[in-house]
């Protein structure tokens, strides 16, 4: 788990409709400076992120480092 203030962390995630007709993952990141911004991941990347985090529920992504997203790309 990332230490608060170190780097961007996932503070929320939800399932959204993707442009190509698949379910996608909208991840909310809180950056070190406090700014929050959403990033939408395609289904393949979203599934990789969940697997990399050992998550079986989207809520289990909270607190994970943004680096997990990059690992899934």
């Amino acid at each position: 788990m990332a230490e608060p203030g170190d780097e961007a962390v996932i503070v929320g995630a939800e399932i959204v409709a993707g442009h190509d007709g698949s379910a996608e993952l909208l991840v909310r990141l809180r950056h070190a400076n406090g700014v929050e911004a959403p990033v939408q991941l395609d289904e393949e990347t979203g599934l990789k992120l969940m697997a990399a985090c050992g998550a079986l529920h989207v809520d289990e992504l909270k607190g994970q480092s943004w680096r997990r997203i990059v690992e899934g790309l």
């Binding site: 007709g21 698949s22 959403p38 969940m50």
Partner: protein, 552 residues
């Protein structure tokens, strides 16, 4: 004597002005009279009080391949569309050297989901240059085509495999400029590029390796012709989209060109996404830039099957764990009564009615034909099961190859989207016609504009809606001979019933080369479609007319 007289209708001329009773007279493919016209004609079309409007223009399609064996771009034409713009997202079928065909086919298959036979059996590939492609198209067209040339193929031509590896040199950029100029001379309506798309191996398409200097140099050539730049921005991230709007605005002002980006979605998950993008567009128009955001009318549907993992189940941990397993283990788990009992229990005390009940069995796969189009709630009731168990059992009975549709899962708020579509700076488009064939139907967005946003929501008048997809679209793209009912312009006309025009239900069709499947939608309320003065579609059937042209 006129060639054609379309009479007894409500003339809606594409300007946004109120309709008025009258008709349209046609001679030699051109409009020669609008309003209270009378006289003899070889062909008379009685509109029967319906609307007589300019043919609709679809500015974002991928019909590049299909047009070579289906010159009507079916079912686009029966929806009232008389002009399509293919070649979007940096990909076109020319200019392309023979040696680069396999590479481009892979990119097209990634976007269009078209079977490989479409490229090898359905047409004779005779050209390398853009003029040759236009000639091949025009042999059998019944719809008009205003083709973009793709940045990725221009790069491929000049740089070969290095197009997908590195930035271009000054000499290579100069060669790309010459090639683009040649394509524009041959009839390209503009250039398309992408900051997003990937090929079949997940590698960025060639246009994504271009540096800003390269795009600037190509826009300088567009400026010589006043032609369009179409861009796919990083639409999944608002801040980056806004940065792209600024980049496009600078290019537009510097080179005096129109630019358009697509898609722009509204999403309840990021409710300020579209609003912020449109606000930035308004600021840039105020500076003198032309940056047209394209927004589609139709909502986004999600589909999935149990054949592969889907994020659709990402709030059901047990389902995630089971569906993540390799196929053999997954099947074993789904056949285990104890496991299934727990999965059904996880879906809620209502047996998954709330979670799965509204899902629709899609068809086009192994789903029994009599279940296609039914909701899981209906199917479960007929089987005497809960929706969750019906989902699992129906999948198991058909080797898991049953797709389910969660309709209107995104870009679905009519109350929010209506005012956006009505915004004079928002370009209605982004249909993706001819793409995503095996995922969802990309047809019928024009009918949905009228049924949902004119009749149901009242977000705009019928005349305004017509103008958005005819006169205004022609103005944005510089299609000077189209988009309006006006003397001297091309006689592209649609006769439709304003009370019933709509899109039909989505259904699978097996009409692609190689027995390929796609999802389509038929049209409702469209009576007759004329292309360059010839009846191309009437009373529910296509004619033998081949009056379409490649147009700029």
């Amino acid at each position: 004597m006129f060639d054609v007289l379309v009479k007894n209708g409500l003339v809606v001329d594409g300007s946004g002005s109120p309709g008025y009773p009258g008709g349209v007279a046609i001679k030699d493919g051109k409009i020669v009279g609008v309003g209270q016209v009378s006289g003899e004609a070889r062909t008379v079309v009685d509109a029967g009080g319906r609307v007589i409007a300019p043919g609709f223009i679809d500015p974002h399609t991928h019909f590049d391949v299909q047009l070579l064996w289906d010159g009507a771009a079916k079912p686009a034409l029966e929806h009232g569309i008389t002009c399509v713009v293919p070649g979007n997202c940096s990909l076109s079928l020319a200019p392309l050297k023979i040696a680069d065909r396999p590479r481009l086919i892979g990119m097209f298959q990634q976007i269009e989901e078209m079977p490989p036979e479409a490229f090898t059996e359905a047409f004779e590939w005779t050209w390398e240059d853009f003029a040759g492609y236009c000639d091949a198209l025009e042999k059998d067209l019944s719809i008009n085509v205003a083709p973009l040339v793709g940045h990725s193929v221009i790069r491929l031509w000049v740089m070969g495999p290095a197009a997908q590896e590195r930035a271009a040199t000054e000499a290579e950029i100069a060669a790309m400029q010459d090639l683009l100029r040649e394509c524009l001379d041959a009839g390209a309506v503009g250039l398309s590029t992408s900051f997003v798309d990937v090929d079949e191996n997940g590698r960025p398409v060639p246009s994504r390796f271009a540096q800003a200097e390269e795009l600037d140099a190509l826009c300088a050539v567009l400026g010589e012709f006043g032609r369009m730049l179409q861009v796919v921005p990083e639409f999944y991230a608002t801040d980056i989209t806004i940065a792209r709007i600024d980049q496009l605005a600078d290019l537009s002002i510097k080179h005096d060109i129109p630019t358009t980006f697509s898609p722009l979605f509204d999403t309840l998950a990021v409710p300020d996404n579209a609003d912020r993008a449109i606000a930035r567009v308004e600021e840039q128009f105020a500076r003198g830039a032309r940056v047209w955001p394209q927004m589609q009318t139709r909502p986004i549907d999600i589909s999935f099957s149990l054949l592969r993992p889907s994020l659709f189940f990402a709030r059901l941990p047990r389902w995630v764990r089971i569906l993540r397993q390799p196929l053999a283990e997954r099947l074993a788990a789904l056949r285990d009564p104890t496991t299934v009992e727990k999965m059904v229990s996880d879906a809620g005390p209502d047996g998954g009615e709330m979670m799965f009940g509204r899902l629709v069995a899609r068809g086009g796969d192994a789903c029994p034909a009599d279940l296609v189009g039914k909701t899981l709630s209906q199917i479960a009731k007929d089987r005497g099961q809960s929706p969750a168990r019906a989902l699992i059992d129906l999948s198991l009975e058909n080797d898991l190859d049953v797709a389910f549709l969660n309709a209107s899962a995104g870009h679905q708020s009519t109350d929010r989207i209506g005012p956006m579509l009505a915004n004079p700076l928002v370009h209605i488009g982004a249909s993706d016609g001819g793409a995503h064939l095996a995922s969802f139907s990309t047809y019928g967005d024009t009918g949905y504009l009228f049924s949902e946003f004119v009749r149901k929501a009242g977000a705009m008048t019928m005349e305004q809606a017509v103008a958005k997809i005819t006169g205004e679209t022609a103005d944005i793209w510089g299609l000077k001979e189209r988009g309006r009912l006006k003397e001297g312009l091309a006689a592209d006309i649609v006769v439709f019933d304003p009370d019933t025009i709509a899109r039909g239900e989505e259904e699978p069709a097996f009409d692609m080369p190689g027995d390929g499947m796609r999802y389509v939608r038929g049209a409702r309320g469209i009576d007759t479609v004329l292309v360059n003065g010839e009846v191309a579609y009437t009373a529910g059937a296509y004619t033998a007319s081949r009056s379409g042209v490649v147009c700029v």
